[in-house]
Subunit: 182 residues, 2 copies
DNA sequence: ACTTGACGGCTAACACCGTTAGCCGTATGG
DNA sequence: CCATACGGCTAACGGTGTTAGCCGTCAAGT
């Protein structure tokens, strides 16, 4: 009889990961918890609220994994490692990634500061340049969603695309730092 | 009594653009055409097929707009103008862009060569380097979907993010060309 | 100790969704 | 003249999110 809210989000997450987003229905979630669908509304106002809870989970997990990579590498240039971790997170949790990052973010339901925390590794990689950080984020997100949606041609060399993108941004960061100190 | 298929796709497109993706139901489409929902299945095998027709429309329109920009600019560096056109297309047709580019592409329902045609402007901007073209595409797509989903912070300077991204890729293209001739 | 009220289940139901089965009028071609 | 294909239709199925309303249990207050 642990916290029902937690039980429900756990059931939702398992359902999402094992059977995909179409299986994420209120009735299926309730079934997994052992209650009926209308009872879910005693704990969540609507389906969007349980999806928001999943977004919070996805965001927290991404933040944690990126921070782990930052800690692992030393003074190495962080970009290729960060990019690899970002892509790996998305490929390992495709449905969670999509529900977390490919729809409006339920910011009010998010733990304070979590969104910023998830973004900081990229900001640090960009030496604090917020514009570069945002375009770098867009690049990584774009690569990931295009891959998840099967949008690249079948034989496309995505490692190469990631590499040239990372190099382009690494150069931009380097040039910006030079310009700053000059 | 013009081609019912065309009538249906036109109704679907109007519905999508004016009321958003939730309004794109078989019953609503049929209502707009003046028939009942089951009759749609005399012309399309399922809802996915009419969505595929919309994807074809979205892809063709994007290709045409990018080609128009290419023709308009002369030997100027094409990237900022292409990026502007790409973004403008997405912002002007947000629902069409999403249905066209943020799900698996129904390639079999697409006119022959259209997908390649839509990608060629970016390939040409990348001087034929397919890896740069793909990462550039990911950058543009990422910027666009993050903006459409309201993922950037409220006051974010997206023009600046687009600019630094374009500059980074422009430099990569330039460097690659130098390296090729060297 | 009795009552009250909140909590968290439940069933029934509504309005919608995509889709199928099966019927029927029309219009065309052999 | 007949047959067949075309393109409408109604009825229905199983699914969706969600609401209304009922009821048992359990804790707190008087």
């Amino acid at each position: 009889m642990a916290d029902r809210v937690q039980q429900i989000t756990a059931a939702a997450r398992e359902l999402l990961e094992t059977e995909g987003p179409d299986a994420l229905s209120m009735r299926r979630i309730a079934e997994r918890v052992g209650i009926r669908a209308p009872s879910l509304y005693k704990h969540f106002p609507d389906k969007g609220a349980v999806e928001a809870a999943l977004q919070a989970q996805g965001m927290a997990q991404l933040a944690q994994e990126l921070e782990a990579i930052e800690a692992e590498i030393g003074v190495e240039p962080p970009m290729p490692a960060l990019a690899r971790a970002y892509r790996q997170h998305a490929l390992a949790n495709p449905h969670l990634y999509r529900i977390t990052h490919t729809r409006p973010l339920a910011r009010t339901a998010l733990p304070e500061g979590l969104e910023d925390r998830a973004g900081m590794p990229l900001v640090r990689a960009a030496h604090g340049d917020i514009d570069i950080a945002r375009s770098l984020w867009a690049f990584a997100h774009g690569m990931v969603v295009l891959e998840l949606d099967g949008r690249f041609p079948p034989g496309a060399d995505l490692d190469a695309a990631w590499r040239v993108g990372c190099e382009a941004f690494a150069h931009a960061i380097h040039a910006k730092s030079q310009g700053d100190t000059a």
